[in-house]
């Protein structure tokens, strides 16, 4: 790597090559200005506060009361939101234009308002239950009065006394006359009810029932009730008492029911009038509830945002130390170095807003603590950085592979996905999301949509590169285009063509130059194209794979230089890159050499296609010290000194293994032997003087527990045996993984082959069928078959194959590339930011 890439030292650059330089700042806030200051910092969003009260549990922190008040406000907001959802109104959180954090005194008004709204809604809900209960009872009574008509018409011929008002009241004793009880019961209980009546009366009752057809609603739960109307005819007062008890036990509702038809009609009329009056009251209550909810609906998102901000502020204040002596709040936090000025401005604004005469200020501390990792991404790089962070967060100031992933990721995807047609579809999808991103960023499409939208630049670049590689593969939905004119000519005459069903062109006489860009279109029509394309794509995969891995190993030099571990360049990087280049770089050289050397038009017999050796077999022979038997007229070597050169390469590569294994531990051992005796314990004390209003000077000593003791790196404390074991593991892993990772890059060929063949099957089995139809029916059939083909193209070739290629590309980056240099043991910078608190992904 040249110095051109070393942009970590450039403080003004917007690069994500290394994480931002971070500073640990100590804040001294005046209590009266603390709230406004934290509010200002929350708007800026560039401070990650450390918890200075880790040993204090949540219930004992200073601002726990305020946090609880915010919790209560949030509960009320959620309750009103739930009520609005019942009404069918969707409360949408704000996505932009957030209100500022409220002042503590403003929240009192909000508290009263929410309390009033909640109380009102609760009262309305209780009233509604009462009204609905009354409505249900009257509805049931109507059913009883109407359904019993048919019952009584059957009984009037049995000398039924027409003047009685029914036996639910004080009935007169009438010898020989039937009494009755009428009511409503749940349908699921009616059979048990009838059996019980038969038992208690020993079969001396007559029960008639009828289903209630009208849907009734439970006032409390809103569920639909299924009920039946019943009438029980009996004789005698004693039996009546028993029947009423059974009715009560089965939760049957008994209703008064006159025995004469005219009186029932009169009663029905009265009950209907009451029902109509009740419905008017219910509607008015519902309208009032709607008005209350509508009034809350407009303000609820704003209230929610305000309460969340306030709660976030108090949570942050709980991380501060409260110094009762000098009456100030002491906090610590990580700030990107170039944003320190923003923090100072926020502190000044916080003090100014309350008119405080004593300013809040910050100190930049010198600490050995590991800072969090922060990359200043933009809308383009954020998607790629998310891919890297999903594997591991970079250590502080470690080389970030996200920078190079911006191009290597979509390109390697395109090598697998190469197809101009499918690439165009993917590119247009990404382009649409990029061009329309302002509007689409406000769209609430759920989590999956948010993932796609966040990766819109990845999708666009993947599509763009897939168009490029597809053009070179000469593959558009499995068909080729003859842009520059095929370089193969037919040398057979008519008789030969007609006589032979299949002919193979001889490259020594049938070629007229080289197709300038991409694969010659004739190969798409050849029956042996897979043989040709496989050799090409396998070589392509190895070449790009080895280059990718060498690039990754070279990145480790950047880390060694930056962290001033120069010895490791000699002890780690040089043997690693030598091993990789001498073994697999040499293999790539053989591939290029074979392309150039062996020609069908050569005069030297040893350079004819028949003598072209297999690169893989030559590589295996190199490792196994074998020699192949040359065919007659062929040379066993590609070039004269090949055997000697391979021997040297192999010996040096084998020497690299103990070099990697022994170099670093011996160096550390040597270093420790020459170190001054005993570690020097440095106590990280910070003594600060604060001048308060009274003019007294108070000395505050920040004890060592807040900071790490000693000035050692991790390695210095590790016992030698551990170092030997780690280095042995690392050596074995590197050597073996160099071999397996090289083979792993062959997936570039495998997925490319699978994609091309799938595309061809789709064409042959679907669209080609439509194209072979004849006549007008064929035209109509083709219309539908094209729709099927297009659906499968998008669903399978773009979506499923695209996802497959994406995941394989991700693995090639995470495992094959980043394992060469990336440690990824950092932790992310999570600043206190109102935007992060308020913008929540909805789970649809």
């Amino acid at each position: 790597m040249s110095k051109w890439w070393s942009c970590g030292s450039n403080q003004e650059s917007n690069s994500i090559f290394r994480s931002e330089v971070m500073s640990l700042v100590q804040m001294y806030l005046q209590p009266e200005a603390a709230y406004d200051t934290i509010a200002a910092l929350g708007e800026v969003g560039c401070v990650q506060f450390r918890d200075l009260n880790a040993k204090i549990n949540a219930q004992q922190r200073k601002f726990i009361g305020e946090v609880r008040r915010c919790d209560e406000l949030e509960r009320r907001i959620r309750y009103v939101t739930a009520e609005l959802n019942k009404e069918g109104h969707k409360v949408l959180d704000l996505m932009d234009d957030f209100p500022p954090a409220p002042q503590p005194r403003e929240i009192i008004d909000l508290e009263l308002h929410l309390e009033k709204t909640e109380t009102e809604i609760l009262e309305l809900a209780a009233n509604n239950v009462n009204l609905q209960t009354s409505y249900l009872e009257l509805s049931e009574m109507i059913q009883v009065l109407e359904r019993t008509d048919q019952f009584f018409s059957d009984q009037e011929s049995h000398n039924f006394d027409l003047n009685k008002m029914g036996t639910h009241r004080d009935p007169e004793k009438s010898n020989g006359h039937l009494g009755f009880v009428a009511g409503v019961i749940s349908r699921e209980r009616e059979y048990a009810f009838e059996r019980m009546l038969w038992r208690i009366s020993r079969g001396n009752v007559f029960v008639r029932r009828c289903d209630v057809d009208v849907a009734l609603t439970d006032p409390k739960t809103g569920n639909v009730l299924h009920k039946s109307v019943f009438v029980v005819f009996f004789q005698g007062d004693q039996l009546q008492a028993r029947i009423r008890k059974v009715c009560t036990g089965f939760h049957a509702h008994m209703y008064p029911c006159p025995s004469s038809h005219s009186e029932r009609q009169e009663m029905v009329k009265n009950v209907r009038t009451r029902l109509e009056d009740l419905q008017v009251i219910i509607n008015q209550t519902s309208d009032h509830r709607t008005c209350v909810l509508q009034a809350a609906l407009k303000q609820l998102p704003t209230w929610s945002a305000m309460v969340k901000k306030m709660k976030g502020i108090y949570h942050t204040l709980n991380l501060f130390n409260v110094d009762l002596g000098s009456k100030c709040l002491i906090g610590e936090g990580w700030v990107p170095k170039r944003e320190l000025e923003l923090v100072e401005v926020a502190l000044a604004a916080g003090s100014a807003s309350v008119g405080s005469t004593v300013p809040s200020f910050i100190n930049v501390l010198d600490t050995k603590k590991e800072p969090p990792t922060h990359f200043r991404t933009n809308k383009f790089t954020r998607g790629f950085q998310n891919l890297i962070d999903a594997y591991g967060i970079a250590g502080y100031r470690e080389v970030n592979p996200g920078l190079y992933t911006c191009i290597t990721f979509p390109f390697l995807f395109a090598v697998m996905f190469g197809d101009m047609g499918h690439g165009t579809i993917l590119f247009l999808l990404g382009l649409w999301m990029v061009i329309d991103e302002k509007r689409l960023s406000k769209k609430r499409g759920g989590e999956i949509w948010n993932i796609f939208f966040a990766g819109r630049y990845i999708i666009m670049l993947m599509g763009l590169f897939a168009m490029y590689t597809g053009f070179h593969y000469n593959d558009i939905f499995s068909k080729s285009i003859n842009v520059f004119g095929t370089r193969w000519v037919n040398v057979y005459n008519r008789t030969t063509v007609l006589t032979n069903p299949t002919l193979q062109l001889n490259p020594s006489v049938a070629t007229r130059g080289v197709y300038p860009m991409g694969i010659d279109p004739i190969w798409q029509s050849a029956s042996n194209k897979i043989i040709f394309l496989n050799t090409y794509k396998m070589k392509l995969s190895i070449i790009f794979g080895v280059l990718h891995m060498v690039f990754g190993v070279c990145m480790s030099v950047e880390n060694f230089v930056f962290f001033k571990k120069y010895a490791y360049i000699i002890l780690q990087f040089v043997p690693q890159v030598l091993f990789l280049l001498l073994m697999f770089g040499y293999m790539c050289f053989m591939m290029f050499y074979k392309w150039v050397k062996y020609s069908p038009t050569t005069d030297v017999e040893a350079d004819t296609p028949g003598c072209a050796p297999s690169v893989l077999i030559m590589f295996i022979d190199m490792v196994l010290f074998k020699t192949e038997t040359a065919l007659p007229g062929c040379d066993v070597n590609m070039f004269p000194i090949q055997k000697n050169l391979e021997m040297i390469f192999l010996v040096v590569a084998l020497l690299c293994i103990p070099w990697i294994l022994l170099g670093k531990p011996l160096y550390i051992k040597y270093q420790r032997r020459n170190r001054p005796a005993g570690p020097v314990e440095e106590v990280d004390e910070i003594v600060e003087k604060i001048e308060v209003t009274t003019g007294k000077e108070i000395i505050i000593t920040e004890v060592a527990e807040a900071h790490e003791s000693g000035g050692h790196s991790e390695e210095d404390d590790e016992p030698m045996s551990e170092i030997w074991i780690h280095q042995a593991i690392h050596t074995i892993e590197y050597i073996l993984s160099t071999i397996s990772h090289t083979a792993s890059y062959l997936r570039l060929w495998a997925l490319s082959l699978a994609h091309a063949q799938l595309s061809e099957v789709l064409w042959t089995m679907v669209l080609a069928m439509g194209l072979q139809m004849n006549g007008y029916v064929g035209a109509i059939g083709l219309f539908f078959i094209f729709a099927v083909w297009e659906f499968f193209t998008i669903a399978i070739m773009v979506m499923m194959e695209g996802l497959s290629a994406f995941l394989h590309t991700l693995r090639l980056h995470w495992v094959e590339f980043m394992s060469k240099f990336y440690v990824g043991n950092g932790y992310p910078f999570t600043p206190f930011s109102f935007k992060d608190i308020l913008i929540v992904v909805e789970d649809d």
């Binding site: 390109f411 032979n500 193979q504 080289v514 029509s525 042996n528 392509l540 392309w595």
Partner: protein
Amino acid sequence: MEVFLTIVFFTIFWAAVAKYGPILFTKQPHDDLVRCIFLLTAVVCWLFWLCCYLAQLNPLLGPKLNGNTIRIIASSWGNPIKEG
């Protein structure tokens, strides 16, 4: 000679993309991200083209075509079949 000129042409083309791309397409040509993007794009695209070109420079086997394909190519791509 034609081969040499083609390789020189494409090499110069992608080198120009790497060098002048940041200037032509962005307002921050000195930004490391932009330069890295254009340089990497030029390198990978050039190498991809080169592998494809060299693979066909000296083909070791020819395409195997059936009779119908030969006749279609003869009529569509201007490769007439010789009489005889």
